[in-house]
């Protein structure tokens, strides 16, 4: 059994969804971890779920980035443990500099909740090995501050290092630079993504959404099994 810590902050709101989904994957043992915890030993991976930590005050993720649990996470990230931030989790990871770039207000200036077509560009991270390179998948998004921004030089570096893991296949989502939907750090163990894979796991009635988010969690399980 691999223990996956789901970090919970005041205002997180997808932690129970991620918990429910993870517990359907045999081999993964999810556990909710409250943000005041300052000892993160004993876990094999971490997920920071979506939500509105601290009500998105100042900027999404800005306040949570200062919490004790993130300080610990920074130490652990160097040990190459898989760390996944989803939506607000992604925002927390960039605000705490665990990932490069910034996430800011959507170019529509509105919250957007819909199914997004995506293309997997890097299938060698712990969260994407189950996908084929350039595979196209559909996963819903739901965010108000998801526009990925970074300066040109840093962007080129991301491309060179293969750090852009997923892109949107449509350009009416949030105005992200070159349609970036997910990035990872240089080592590849820390990844942030705006789409919500946990929302595309059940068999949905709506044809627009096939359960293509499962690949993210299956990849994680396989990674933990073999590493």
């Amino acid at each position: 059994m691999s223990r996956v810590g789901i970090l919970v902050f005041p205002g997180s709101n997808c932690e129970r969804d991620v918990f429910t989904v993870l517990s359907k994957f045999s081999g993964l043992e999810p556990e909710l971890v409250w943000h005041t915890k300052n000892d993160l030993r004993g876990y094999d991976a971490f997920i920071i779920p979506g939500g509105f930590t601290y009500g998105d005050s100042l900027r999404a993720g800005a306040i949570a980035a200062h919490s004790p649990v993130i300080r610990e996470l920074k130490k652990i990230s160097e040990e190459n443990l898989p760390i996944l931030g989803i939506c607000n989790g992604f925002q927390i990871l960039v605000e705490s500099s665990l990932l490069p770039g910034a996430l800011t207000v959507n170019s529509s200036h509105k919250f957007v909740c819909k199914s997004a077509r995506l293309v997997v560009k890097n299938n060698s991270t712990p969260f994407t090995t189950m996908f084929k390179k350039d595979e196209s998948i559909s996963i819903p998004v739901a965010h108000g501050q998801g526009r990925y921004v970074i300066d040109n030089r840093a962007y080129r570096k991301l491309e060179r290092n293969n750090q852009i893991v997923i892109r949107y296949a449509q350009n009416d989502i949030n105005g992200s630079m070159n349609n970036v939907a997910a990035v990872c750090n240089e080592q590849g163990n820390v990844m942030g993504m705006m789409p919500h894979p946990e929302r595309a796991v059940w068999i949905q009635m709506d044809q627009d959404i096939r359960p293509e988010g499962s690949g993210v969690f299956e990849s994680l399980r396989n990674h933990l099994l073999w590493h």
């Binding site: 005041p10 205002g11 709101n13 997808c14 969804d17 429910t20 989904v21 409250w34 979506g50 939500g51 509105f52 601290y54 009500g55 998105d56 005050s57 509105k110 919250f111 957007v112 909740c113 819909k114 819903p140 739901a142 108000g144 919500h196 946990e198 929302r199 796991v201 059940w202 949905q204 009635m205 709506d206």
Partner: protein, 733 residues
């Protein structure tokens, strides 16, 4: 400060045997406002049927409880925030969401879904000023709902929007919430002497003082008292903390704070637990210094809950509250007797029976039916295929009909991973439940029809909302209602209110549906007078199996059937609205027997697995229903209008009449379906055409037309996206 009438003042003095103090008067007049006391409506709405084998009686006060099996219960409630939203649409709508969520929370249930019903002036009207104001209201109301609901992590799964000239400089914002719980976790509101009363959550400030009497007044200019600032982050903490406290068994009784603030909350909970309360207002945590006892007790500051716990559990409760960094104060305790004792810094400033405060003297209002409307003018409409074609696109583009994507894409409708049918995909929203069943839910309203005829208009809404549930495969389980009218002091308006109530009683008794909750909102008036009568009805239903969940999307090569007769019933129709004939025509009449027969037939077909797609036929009429099924399925249709059972005097009436109780469905088992329907005596139905996937055109044939009406996927889709087009229009240079 007192808002009491002369009669009420006299009654109060007689009951007290003395002159009330200024403080007592403040408390009593808050509770005796129309908004809190239902003094005009209570006698009437008491007659709603409210029993069924699903309803759990006697527990719920803030929201109704339904037993859905395997130990699970659902809570449901509806509220409006009309006045605050009309002056501060962002804060008003947001705090409206917060309020209805706390109603669910106060039962100990976890909120799992939100819906809303909104009414505005047309967005794109010749009156530019009203339209501009309407777009401002729509933008900010939807943003308020989105920012609040999204932040607290409760999906907004559906709703309803209507645009009408009756809402100049005004809007109606109704919000409904659903919660789920295990039956044994529900708060029973039983409390013992010496239990401790905590006020939890946001600090109490001067905001919103007299808000509930504000809601019981006509809107006049700027009124600061009702401005409320939303704090969804605190609400989210409140939800998690309260549910954790419930889970650990440290809540004996609980109530949300809404209209009337502490004064209503304390007197009502004292009544509910049948005990007295002693509370010291100087212990309340406040936002600002120097608040008077009246200001503290009347404040309608948001994001607060009253929690009553035992002495032994007190430490657990405060530990949980500290975990979530929530402010709280221990403001008093439960006492012997049935009085509400209010102190300030130790001195008793009020000691009154809670019952006296809670039970305002009820009023019998006068009713006068309106002058009967002038006869229907004979209106000529040219019925060439090109005219019919244009009308179809025009009705599709009418924001009342057009896609509401611009609105619902702002709402997180997926958090909670239980939304199976999302907004925009089907007639009602469908949610997966913990007990393996599925919940279908929808709100509906139709102020155009209700304005012309409140009785039949309300009937139409009831019929439509139930058809929406049935069209996704659900069996209606219960009804909630929200009755929004102008001033009850106007005898014409009160007459209409009574008609609406009568319709609900008649429909629900016939269908054996309990009315499990609701709200009355009077004094909805703008600068031009009262709004159109706007009852909003909600329905929830259960679907036992996922195979029974239906959607309105045509497949290819399927036979199309219609169930139900189509009549010349054009009053309040979108076709008349779009073609400049608003106010004319007869409002459709619901034939209860037909309604029941058709509904049962459809549910049977679904359970026999002979239906491929299904849609109820209502707003916009048959033409719109077919176009929607074509768009959603990406397939086309060939329909022979001569085959439709009808008594219409024209082709346009046949296409656009809003006769209730009709369904359109497609099937690839036409023979079995035919046999099954033929066996039902009295059922009107027929096979009217086929779906196709070759080419991109749909055809409507009629023997009186020299050529068919031809519609392309692109035409109908472009028209259907008109709401977004209006709201996002880029400037032309």
């Amino acid at each position: 400060m007192s808002e009491l009438t002369a009669g009420e003042t006299k009654y109060l003095r007689k009951k007290l045997g003395r002159k009330p103090s200024a403080f007592e008067l403040d408390v009593v007049s808050a509770e005796w406002s129309e908004h809190c006391s239902y003094k005009s409506s209570k006698k009437l709405i008491r007659k709603f049927p409210n029993r069924s084998k699903f309803v759990i009686p006697g527990l719920a006060s803030d929201a109704a409880l339904l037993d859905i099996g395997l130990g699970y219960v659902l809570a449901i409630h509806i509220e409006s925030h009309n006045h605050p939203s009309a002056v501060e649409p962002y804060g008003g709508s947001a705090t409206g969401v917060g309020g209805v969520i706390r109603d669910i929370l106060s039962l100990g249930a976890r909120p799992i879904a939100l819906l809303n019903a909104l009414r505005f002036y047309p967005l794109d009207n010749a009156n530019k000023r009203y339209s501009q104001s309407s777009r401002w209201l729509l933008r900010n109301v939807t943003k308020g709902i989105a920012d609040y609901g999204n932040c607290i992590g409760v999906p907004t799964v559906g709703g309803e929007v209507e645009f009408d000239r009756g809402f100049s400089n005004y809007c109606l914002v109704d919000v409904a919430a659903i919660g789920i719980s295990k039956r044994e976790k529900i708060i029973r509101n039983r409390s013992n002497k010496r239990d401790i009363v905590f006020l939890v959550g946001g600090a109490t400030g001067r905001d919103g003082i007299h808000g509930s009497s504000f809601a019981s007044k006509k809107l006049s200019g700027e009124d600061r008292s009702a401005v409320q600032i939303p704090d969804p982050f605190t609400e989210k903490l409140l939800i998690e903390a309260v549910l954790e406290a419930v889970d650990r068994g440290c809540v004996n009784a609980m109530k949300d704070l809404g209209g009337g603030g502490l004064s209503c909350c304390l007197s009502e909970i004292s009544e509910t637990i049948s005990k007295g309360l002693e509370v010291d207002l100087s212990k309340v945590h406040v936002k600002e210094d120097g608040m008077s006892p009246s200001e503290i007790i009347l404040s309608e500051s948001q994001e607060r809950m009253l929690v009553i716990t035992s002495q032994t559990n007190q430490a657990y409760l405060t530990e949980i509250l500290s975990k979530y960094n929530l402010s709280y104060s221990n403001i008093g305790s439960v006492i012997e007797g049935k009085n509400l004792v209010i102190k300030y810094a130790g001195d008793v400033i009020m000691n009154l029976p809670s019952e006296l405060i809670c039970r305002a003297p009820l009023i019998d209002r006068d009713t006068i039916p309106p002058e009967s409307k002038s006869e229907d003018r004979n209106l000529y409409f040219r019925e060439r295929p090109s005219d019919l074609y244009k009308s179809i696109l025009k009705v599709l583009a009418n924001p009342n009909i057009a896609s509401k994507k611009w609105i619902y894409e702002q709402f997180d409708h997926e958090v909670g991973i239980r939304t199976v049918l999302k907004p925009g995909t089907a007639d009602s929203s469908v949610l997966r439940l913990e007990n393996g069943k599925y919940l279908a839910v929808k709100l509906d309203g139709n102020s155009k029809q209700c304005d012309l005829d409140p009785y039949h208009g309300t009937m139409c809404i009831l019929s439509e909302v139930c058809r929406n549930i049935i069209s996704t495969g659900g069996k209606p389980l219960a009804i909630i209602d929200h009755l929004q009218f102008g001033s009850p002091e106007n005898a014409h308006i009160f007459w209409a209110f009574k008609q609406s109530v009568r319709a609900i009683i008649n429909y629900c008794e016939f269908m054996r549906l309990p009315v499990v909750g609701g709200k009355v909102s009077f004094y909805n008036e703008n600068n031009l007078g009262p709004i159109k009568h706007s009852p909003v009805i909600g329905s929830i239903g259960l679907i036992d199996r996922s195979e029974w969940i239906m959607m309105p999307r045509f497949g290819s090569e399927e036979s199309i059937f219609i169930i139900g007769n189509t009549k010349d019933e054009m009053g309040g129709s979108e076709f008349y609205e779009t073609t400049g004939r608003a106010g004319n025509g007869k409002v459709p009449i619901v034939d209860l027997n037909d309604d029941m027969r058709n509904a049962k037939a459809v549910l049977r077909l679904i359970r026999e697995d002979v239906v491929s797609s299904l849609h109820d036929c209502s707003k916009g009429g048959l033409a719109i229903t077919l176009c929607e099924m074509a768009m959603r399925g990406g397939n086309n249709f060939q329909v022979d209008l001569d085959k439709i059972p009808n008594s219409c005097s024209s082709i346009s009436n046949l296409l656009f009449s809003e006769t209730p109780s009709r369904y359109i469905l497609s099937t690839n088992k036409r023979k079995r379906l035919n046999t099954m329907l033929s066996a039902i005596s009295g059922l009107e139905f027929s096979e009217i055409g086929m779906t196709t996937n070759n080419g991109s055109e749909s055809f409507l044939h009629h023997s009186k037309l020299n050529s068919p009406v031809i519609l392309t996927q692109k035409n109908i889709t472009d028209s259907y996206e008109n709401l977004g087009t209006i709201m996002e229009r880029t400037p032309v240079d």
